[in-house]
Structure formats: C-alpha cells, structure tokens
C-alpha cells in the first residue's frame, strides 16, 4: 500500500463517504417505508400492491442511490487500501445511523440502545482487526 499524503487524504474522504452514505441510505429507506405502512398490516397473499408502492416511493429510490454510492466508494477504496484498514472504520456507521435516526426522523434512542450500539462498534472493530485471509492462497 502506498503511503503518500495525498493517498491518505483520498482514503479518509472515501471512508467518510462510506460511513455517511450507508446510514443515510438506510434512514431514507426507513422514511420511505414508514410512509408505506407497517408490514404487520400487509396482506402477504397479495404482495403486488405493496411492491408497487415501494417501487414508486421517491425516498426508497434516494435510499437505494445512497447505498449504491456507498457500495461504489467501498469498492473503489478497496482497490488501493487494505481491507483490514477499511473494514474497522465502517463500524462507525452503526453509530451514525442512530445519530441520523435521531436528527432526521426524530427517533427516541435510549441509553441502553446507545450502549448496545457502542458495544457493537467495538465488536466490529475487533473483527476488522483480524487478518482478512484465513485460508491458504491458491
């Protein structure tokens, strides 16, 4: 992996994109789905009307666009940065999704949930610090 300062800045920018766009995509999907109505009331024997409402929701398509932006940023950053460097950074997205849910959707996030999210971030960070390849190279 190259160590030029420009490459570091580029890597940080792309990781920032990842950590922001994946949670934003999920928040937009959530906003869109709340407008469609709870799945508890869906008639699963007739999925077509629900599917049409999902596919005609602007928030859903914006959410998908954000998730695609995340995916492209993720793929691109992996072409020059190590997976073991990028993956732990993505742990922050669990925290960002709660912050965006609080700020954009007005969700109530209690102390226990904040604690759980912090523990998940630590766990994902530990997983990310392990070696990405566990099998013999063929």
């Amino acid at each position: 992996m190259k160590t030029a300062p420009g490459l570091h800045i580029k890597t940080y920018i792309f990781i920032l994109f990842m950590v922001f766009f994946a949670p934003l995509g999920n928040v937009l999907l959530s906003k869109g789905m709340k407008g469609i109505g709870s799945a508890k009331n869906w008639d699963l024997s007739e999925p077509l009307p629900v599917l049409m409402r999902i596919l005609t929701s602007g928030y859903i398509w914006l959410g998908i666009a954000c998730l695609l932006t995340f995916f492209v940023a993720y793929m691109l950053v992996l072409t020059w940065a190590d997976y073991s460097y990028v993956q732990p950074a993505s742990a922050f997205s669990y925290l960002v999704v709660a912050v965006l849910g609080l700020l954009l959707l007005g969700e109530k996030v209690n102390v226990l949930r904040w604690g759980g999210i912090a523990v998940i971030c630590v766990g994902v960070f530990i997983v990310g610090r392990t070696h990405p390849r566990t099998t013999e190279k063929t």
Partner: protein, 124 residues
C-alpha cells in the same frame, strides 16, 4: 412475530447470499486487471456461475425483508441488530467455505452479539 421472521430473513438470506457470492468469486480467482474491458469480462464470467445467481437471489430476499423490518421498527434499532450477520457470517464461513476463524474474530463476534442483545432489550 413478523419482526423475528423478517430479521431471520435479513440475517439468514443476507449472509447466505454473501457466502454464495464469495464462493462464486473464489471460483473465479483474484482480480489483477482493473481496466474497464477486463472488469466487464470478469462480470460476464461471474454471471455464468450458478452460485452468483443464488447469491443475488438471496440478497434480494434480504433487501426486501430489510424494507419490511424498517416499516415496523426504528432504523436505530433495525440496522444495529443486523450486525448479527457477523456471527452468521463467521459460522457460515467456517462451515460452508471451510475458513479458519481466529480466536480474536470469534471474540469480536461475541462482543457484537452482546451489543445486539443490549439493542434488542432497548425496545422495551
């Protein structure tokens, strides 16, 4: 009850899909040439692998299950809970792909599971 069904689809189908795609990608070999033409040829080869289509199908099921879950619960609950896929992924990779999972990775998975339990308890 529907929450648990959709959650198990997100975790099960999502992880199963990723494992299928991973298996397909490993059968294709490592990518060294990142030129657009070479990448298109790679995608074309990938599209001829059955595991790839199985993976895409399962990931589609997982995506629509995520949408259903988001219609019922807050995003600050749903997304952290889906971190359970780290546990399913480690177990699946160990059994299905015969990868060796290090003690440190299992420790991370255990910590993730503790965090998910806390988030789950925060619903009440």
């Amino acid at each position: 009850m529907r929450e648990l069904i959709f959650l198990s689809f997100i975790i099960g189908a999502g992880t199963g899909g990723e494992l299928c795609v991973s298996r397909a990608m490993k059968s294709l070999g490592e990518v060294h040439d990142f030129r657009p033409v070479a990448l298109l040829q790679f995608v074309s080869r990938a599209a001829r692998v059955g595991w790839m289509w199985a993976g895409v199908g399962l990931m589609t099921v997982a995506f629509f299950s995520l949408l259903a879950m988001l219609s019922m619960e807050n995003v600050s609950f749903v997304v952290p809970v889906t971190a359970l896929s780290y546990a399913a992924g480690a177990a699946g990779a160990s059994v299905f792909l015969r990868e060796r999972i290090s003690k440190q990775r299992w420790l991370g998975v255990l910590v993730v599971c503790i965090g998910v339990t806390l988030v789950w308890l925060s619903r009440r």
